[in-house]
């Protein structure tokens, strides 16, 4: 109930059309917005009384990045933003929700998204001297990809 109201309010404030709102399982509403609308959308969501940010999911779809801001209050409300692969930049929401810091820092080092205004842009999970690129991007390979199963077994025998 709560999230539906908030979704309608977001639609009014941001002038979105009906197709921007989608239902996904477990009572979750997904709203697609543009990256310029993010801060306004988050402010509106907070004003509707939904202050709990569960997570920020970053993923690669085709060539672009998709960011999902998952809010929750008895039901889910996700804001979806598409970012261009060549210029993955977006405003940080930490000034509005300090709890988003670790989620943004994780997306920053794993996917290379630049969050403008992120208070503490230093590595969180990866080593300080990490030079291997952004590990969660689709083109980055794990050892599992690089070698076939047989190769792994041979390596095991020789070492």
């Amino acid at each position: 109930m709560n999230t539906e109201k908030a979704a309608n309010k977001l639609r009014d404030v941001l002038n979105l059309d009906k197709t921007a709102i989608k239902q996904i399982p477990f009572n979750e509403v997904k709203i697609t917005i543009s990256k310029q609308q993010l801060l306004l959308a988050v402010k509106t969501t907070l004003k509707s009384g939904i202050w709990h940010l569960s997570a920020i999911t970053c993923q690669q779809l085709e060539d672009d990045f998709i960011l999902l801001y998952h809010f929750w209050k008895s039901g889910g409300l996700s804001l979806q933003i598409r970012l261009d692969e060549k210029n993955p930049q977006i405003d940080s929401i930490c000034p509005l929700i300090p709890g988003a810091e670790y989620y943004e820092r994780e997306a920053r080092e794993m996917f290379g998204i630049e969050f403008l205004g992120l208070p503490n842009p230093v590595p969180l999970l990866l080593p300080d001297d990490w030079q291997g690129g952004f590990p969660m991007r689709k083109k980055e390979q794990t050892n599992h990809d690089k070698s076939e199963g047989d190769d792994l077994q041979q390596k095991g025998k020789s070492s």
């Binding site: 569960s54 998952h70 929750w72 989620y103 999970l125 969660m136 990809d145």
Partner: protein, 360 residues
């Protein structure tokens, strides 16, 4: 006064898992701290993209050595939602039983760790002795003490028989008695109060600003519990209370967790008394249709969040995991500030960290 910086971790007797704190001190007072994660980062989210949905159940159970079952439960219910599967009631009940047993086990383990950190070794031994009861039950049911591999997509792969039920009945009664005894002995214990009251305070505003979940949030007066607010599995058919306290310090978190343990025991008893008949699982198709799902569940430490996107192939296109520890870690520098060095161990133990969960 001279300023010094003390590194706590990544390897430190105080910590059970690797985590690094750089604590700056002025005399005995903490003036600031820097937190660093990643010492047990295994890249589980990336690995999950290279494994099939079924292989992932076993990968995901390895995220955590304490709450392995809740991870696979949340994952399985996400995939079941994508497949639009209706899991048989008996399967859901057995899932919930394991979830609640795991909560008891996790809270008693934590109580032992806290007690040891503040120097109450007797309490540590009592808590861990009683935890053995739960571990034995879980071993009897699933064959494993911490990793159960009970969940499959579409239900569970173990069934409960008469001997399991009578074992549960007997042991839960005994456990209930013992946990009440622990509660009675620490509630009014002056040395326990002296070490935990007004330590690691978090206000309700801070809890909301940092989006904290679970017992830490409930100890500061935030009434939030996924089991009640957005019931998954079959929690809407069960009767339980969500304890909430307002003190917001380590003491409140301790008492609250013991009350939660008692509620979990009550839930277990309800589950075995109302266990439905019928199959425990249904066969799930191997290919998952394209779609996305965000699912939540109440782990012993609070809301655990999974996001799964399927592109119709046999592997998930994206699996995002947010564990409750990540939300409490971010509050630690604030909690440590202006505290005495001797209280650092209490505060770190008090929030119940699971670093393996936080790093993934």
């Amino acid at each position: 006064m001279s300023k010094i910086t003390v590194p706590i971790g990544p390897q430190h007797p105080l910590l059970k898992e690797p985590l690094s704190f750089l604590v700056s001190l002025e005399g005995e007072k903490v003036t600031g701290s820097v937190l660093r994660l990643g010492y047990v980062h295994r890249g589980i989210e990336k690995l999950a993209e290279q494994r099939t949905y079924i292989q992932n159940i076993y990968l995901i159970e390895r995220i955590c050595g304490i709450c392995s079952h809740i991870h696979s439960t949340t994952y399985c219910q996400s995939v079941e939602a994508l497949l639009k599967l209706e899991v048989p009631k008996r399967g859901l009940y057995i899932r919930m039983l394991l979830c609640e047993l795991e909560r008891i086990h996790s809270h008693l383990l934590w109580l032992g760790v806290l007690a040891k950190n503040i120097g109450l070794n007797t309490l540590f031994m009592y808590a861990w002795r009683d935890r053995e009861i739960v571990l034995n039950i879980m071993e009897e049911i699933s064959g494993g003490r911490v990793s159960h591999s009970v969940n499959v997509i579409g239900g569970v792969q173990v069934n409960l028989n008469e001997s399991h039920l009578s074992l549960l009945q007997q042991n839960l009664q005994e456990l209930n008695k013992r946990v009440k005894e622990i509660l009675r002995s620490i509630e009014n214990d002056r040395s326990f109060q002296a070490r935990t009251q007004k330590i690691g305070y978090l206000s309700l505003e801070d809890i909301k600003r940092y989006c904290v979940v679970g017992p830490v949030a409930r100890a500061s007066g935030l009434d939030i519990d996924i089991r009640r607010d957005a019931p998954y599995a079959a929690y809407d058919e069960l009767n339980f209370e969500v304890p909430v306290m307002t003190e917001g310090d380590v003491w409140a978190r301790s008492i609250l967790r013991i009350h939660e343990t008692l509620q979990a025991i009550r839930l277990c008893v309800q589950i075995i008394n109302n266990l439905p008949d019928g199959p425990v699982s249904i066969t799930a198709p191997r290919r998952v249709p394209a779609g996305e799902v965000a699912s939540r569940a109440e782990a012993p430490r609070g809301e655990v969040f999974y996001y799964v996107r399927s592109d119709g192939s046999q592997n998930p296109a994206r699996l995002k995991i947010r564990t409750p520890t990540l939300t409490t870690l971010i509050t630690l520098p604030g909690q440590l500030k202006n505290m005495q060095l001797a209280d650092v161990s209490t505060i770190i133990a008090g929030v119940d960290l699971c670093i393996a969960c936080g790093d993934r």
